[in-house]
Symmetry: C2
DNA sequence: CCCGACAGGCTATCATTGATAGGTTGGCGG
DNA sequence: CCGCCAACCTATCAATGATAGCCTGTCGGG
């Protein structure tokens, strides 16, 4: 290998690349940012990126992981606030939707694109970090739901997956089809969460 | 322009290309099929494709439209069958999920990918055919829901969008994350539809 | 004080992708 | 018989992610 593996170094160049990439992604959309654009914005040559990341996907995957760590953190915060389990549950759903709308590219990467396309590099290491990060948040949902339902684990899991699907559905559709003739977004989100909550107890 | 516009011809070459492309898409996944592969499978040169389609996207968009026309047709069939509106509604939801799972690439194209990426060529003509086809099916949902709710149009629309989001959520997650630790798929789908139906009356 | 190791970067270069330019051919109507 | 034109073809682009191999500045040990 030409430049040896330096990815494990705490390097600030790597950090700088991630910052620049995040900004470019937010600006032009992840799909329309090339490695050359990132390199130029950083001020290095395009091949130099590969001294810090093995593939282009690894950059977005790394950003995705970090984004979902913030979702997880926010979920924990939400759960720490006082209120009935139902209120907590509702806030959790709201936090999830808001997260998706705040980080559409990361959300797409984690839950809307093909896994191989998104994180093949890391999946080959035996793990899917984006999923892991996302599933941490799913674990929070599972927990609060268990507290509410008082049912066996399998039933809790069944409900958790179904509810996740509902919340994801709205989030992902708003991301993927922003030009659809949606009713007022705020009203739709609230109504959607109402429907889901009403279902529970 | 080199070869003038021949796309409007009823040509069977065009049809043959679509057939071959569909098969390759199903086999390797749409994202991993190049125009050269399609051309070779058809038995023509890669540039010759552009005599029948303006862009590569146009091929997938065309297939997508056709797929969604079958969804629309199936929706109509479902509605024609006897039963209470709730029964019809439930069958409609089931048909929708089944459609997505049967045509994951087309579903992805219509509702999970960025519109520009998917159908930019046709959107530039002022219309998004994939969406149009999908929305025909959405119209069926709106209709049956209006029959059930007996509410003003805006409320019907609000509920229709929320319900669509829920059903889409499960469909798209099963497509995008087939390796997630799902509970039994059949049970999950049925439970999900139950939750949605229970919400309605 | 020099010198090897090496992190970090560079230029040159690939293969693959979608797409365009422009020439060739073969059948069909006037 | 001629010319049109649909349907091809080859050659070629530009952009993309990725690799090979060379150069350089810094830093610790002899």
């Amino acid at each position: 290998m030409s430049g040896s593996d330096k990815r494990q170094r705490g390097g600030e160049r790597r950090e700088q690349i991630l910052e620049v990439a995040l900004q470019l992604f937010a600006q032009h959309g992840m799909a329309h940012v090339s490695t050359r654009q990132i390199a130029q914005a950083v001020g290095i040559s395009q091949p130099s990126l590969y001294a810090h990341f093995r593939t282009a996907h690894e950059i977005s995957a790394e950003l995705c992981i970090r984004a979902f760590e913030t979702l997880y953190r926010r979920s924990i915060e939400v759960m720490a606030q006082p209120g009935t389990p139902l209120e907590q549950f509702r806030r959790l759903g709201r936090a999830y939707v808001d997260f998706g709308l705040d980080h559409p590219d990361m959300y797409r990467l984690a839950f809307m694109l093909e896994p191989p396309e998104a994180v093949s590099a890391l999946v080959q290491q035996g793990k899917d970090p984006a999923m892991e990060a996302g599933e941490s948040a799913f674990g929070v949902l599972r927990t609060v739901l268990a507290r509410m339902l008082d049912a066996d684990d399998e039933t809790v899991e069944l409900n958790a997956q179904s509810i996740w699907a509902s919340v994801h559905g709205l989030t992902s559709l708003l991301i993927a089809r922003p030009h659809f003739a949606w009713v007022d977004r705020e009203r739709l989100i609230e109504h959607h969460l109402n429907r889901i909550c009403a279902q529970i107890d």
